[in-house]
């Protein structure tokens, strides 16, 4: 027998509370994240603000800022110098970002994958697995700014830095290595720091992926006499494909926004262009240029947004709520059938 309260509840709609509860999130998001994005887009089609101007006084210049960073300059044009400079800077930043990402991602992925397979292999007897996991993840929580400054002190050009000093003392080198002068070396060190910081994170993600694979598949492979290489390439990798794709895409998006280490791995304020990433390019031409370059940094931001949005759509596809989509499809099907029945033969 239904009580009064129960009957009352049946008649009350609680939908409005759903709206009440999500309002704070959406309000904050729209004001502090969505509007700034739109604002950035607006700045990208306007002339640069002068440093003193705090009130909006931009003049509409169409796609000029985009033209400057993306297309090759025309020698006879009025804006040749700005155009050539911006294009060179943007392309260099894009290539730096990509180079550092490639040097970081592939070795990191291989290392993390090998470790994840070892740690999830029940046959192997590795002591203190928990300890290893904790230690390997540790670099990830350390403030990147501190890591960059520490690395700077360890790899400085003079013979007093920890690395040069040790190598000299051991007689492995005769002269200090110019770690910070050679851009290729510098990018390699940055990629190395990124690997150091992120391999533990990737390893744990892959481990939880492997743990999600039905163990009877591994057992079956073992009974069929597959060796560990065959198990890895025929069972583990194919079944991990969604997680591998997720790791690849999130790492690419993370790589596109790489800022702290490449920007701070410079002594003082001597920011070398050889390690300037896209995020650092946006930051520097806005914060550190003579004029507040809102136009070009805005345009570069929008280009970065388009790249990450394209990559993000892959993550979106992976994260979709599959149950809900299946339920919706089912519902649609039922509705169609019901509609058909209601119409009888007339619809035909």
């Amino acid at each position: 027998m239904a009580s009064n309260a129960q009957r009352r509840i049946k008649h009350v709609s609680y939908a409005k509370y759903g709206y009440f509860f999500i309002i704070p999130f959406f309000l904050v998001y729209f004001i502090f994240s969505f509007y700034p994005l739109v604002n950035t887009m607006r700045y990208s089609v306007e002339k640069n603000l002068s440093k003193e101007a705090t009130i909006y006084d931009g003049e509409f210049v169409g796609l000029d800022n985009y033209k400057h960073i993306l297309t090759s300059p025309d020698k006879n044009a009025e804006d040749y110098y700005v155009h050539a400079g911006m294009r060179e800077g943007f392309l260099r930043a894009l290539s730096n970002t990509f180079k550092i990402w490639v040097m970081n991602f592939f070795p990191q992925m291989i290392l993390s994958m090998i470790l994840a397979v070892w740690f999830t292999d029940a046959k192997l007897k590795i002591p203190a697995k928990g300890f290893f996991k904790v230690v390997m993840y540790m670099p990830n929580i350390i403030t990147a700014a501190s890591v960059a400054v520490l690395a700077l002190k360890m790899f400085s050009n003079d013979s007093f830095s920890i690395v040069n000093n040790t190598l000299l003392n051991w007689g492995l080198i005769d002269e200090p290595i110019q770690f910070l002068a050679d851009m290729k070396l510098k990018r390699t060190i940055i990629a190395g720091i990124q690997i150091w910081m992120w391999f533990g994170n990737t390893m744990i993600l892959l481990m939880s992926g492997i743990a999600g694979i039905n163990p009877s598949l591994f057992e079956a492979a073992n009974i069929d006499g597959a060796n560990s290489r065959q198990v890895f390439f025929r069972v583990t990798v194919p079944l991990l494909r969604p997680i591998l794709l997720f790791t690849l895409v999130t790492s690419l998006i993370g790589g596109m926004q790489m800022f702290d280490i490449p920007y701070l791995f410079n002594p003082g304020t001597n920011r070398s262009p050889g390690t300037q990433t896209i995020a650092a390019f946006i930051y520097q031409i806005y914060m550190e240029s003579r004029i507040k370059n809102t136009g070009h940094s805005g345009a570069a931001s929008v280009v970065l947004f388009i790249i990450t949005a394209a990559l993000g759509s892959i993550v979106f596809y992976i994260n979709r709520d599959k149950d809900e989509i299946a339920a919706k499809k089912q519902l649609k099907k039922l509705r169609k059938q019901a509609a058909k029945k209601a119409h009888g033969g007339l619809g035909l």
Binding site: N39, Y137, T143, I282
Partner: protein, 292 residues
């Protein structure tokens, strides 16, 4: 089965066991080397923070010195650098941003799971869609907007925007979907509890595991953030800890013991807290709830 073939099969088993043992040993060794690689930079940092500059210039060592107090004093006497202020500022920002973002995220996730409303699907789709948008792409518009409404050089732009964290909502929602008993909300209604009270007294306790993991991650992410504060804060007394540390990178500072002390002060407390909370952090990462 003859005695001989029995022996043979034992031998194969023995061989198999030995090869597994050797493999395990090699892997353990590799793991130990990786452990050293992970810890050595931090160890050298701490050791150098206890030595004076001339010792440091003479070479690295694994044995601590006895200049700790001096280095600390020199660091504290430094003009424009104040680690304690940096600590306090970072703590205020990260603490309030983490608490607020986790509370609002839980509220949002709760609404998305418990209530059946028309825009539930679109709202969730929107959160998924913006999940991967980085801060960098809207930074210019954000800073200009903050300047315009007078929040430049304040902590508002560092705390309030962090409240809307799509990835936290996503994580808590996934957790809720898998483990939240919806009947309990109905039962609370029958008992006459208001909807918001139900969320506070029943929702939050049940979501605690997911919320505490996200609280840790939100705190660390805000604590480590260098990009946004360096766009918004220009006054030294308002600097966050990462910004303070950055000023140490200048070649101007030749007292290396002091510089290492400064870096160590920013890293060691974080590592101590990490080791205390590591169990929850590793679990949280394994659930796939983090991205940076």
């Amino acid at each position: 089965m003859s005695k001989n073939s029995m022996k043979e099969s034992y031998k194969i088993k023995d061989n198999y066991n030995t090869s597994i043992k050797i493999k395990s040993l090699v892997i353990t060794l590799i793991c130990l080397i990786l452990t050293i690689i992970c810890l050595l930079p931090i160890y050298l940092l701490v050791i150098n923070a206890t030595r004076n500059t001339s010792d440091i210039l003479n070479g690295a060592t694994l044995i601590p010195g006895n200049e700790t107090l001096n280095n600390y004093k020199n660091l504290m006497a430094l003009d424009g650098f104040n680690a304690l202020t940096g600590f306090k500022n970072s703590f205020i920002i990260s603490g309030s941003a983490a608490l607020l973002s986790v509370f609002i995220s839980a509220l949002t996730a709760y609404a998305l799971v418990v209530y059946d409303f028309k825009l539930r699907g679109p709202a969730f789709t929107f959160i998924l869609a913006v999940l991967m948008i980085p801060t960098q792409v809207s930074a210019i518009g954000f800073v200009q907007f903050m300047i315009k409404i007078g929040f430049f050089n304040t902590y508002v732009p560092l705390i309030v925007p962090a409240m809307a964290a799509p990835s936290t909502v996503f994580f808590i929602r996934q957790f809720m979907k898998s483990s939240f008993p919806l009947d309990i909300v109905e039962a609370a209604r029958i008992d006459g509890s208001s909807e918001f009270r139900t969320f506070l007294t029943i929702g939050i306790p049940l979501l605690k595991p997911a919320m505490s993991v996200q609280l840790i991650f939100a705190f660390i992410a805000n604590w480590n953030n260098f990009f946004t504060p360096s766009l918004i804060i220009t006054r030294t007394e308002k600097y966050t800890l990462p910004m303070m540390i950055n000023t140490l990178s200048s070649d101007r500072y030749t007292d290396y013991g002091m510089v290492y002390m400064g870096i160590a002060l920013s890293i060691v407390p974080l590592i101590v807290v990490y080791f205390i909370l590591s169990k929850y952090i590793i679990e949280g990462v394994a659930l796939g709830g983090v991205k940076e």
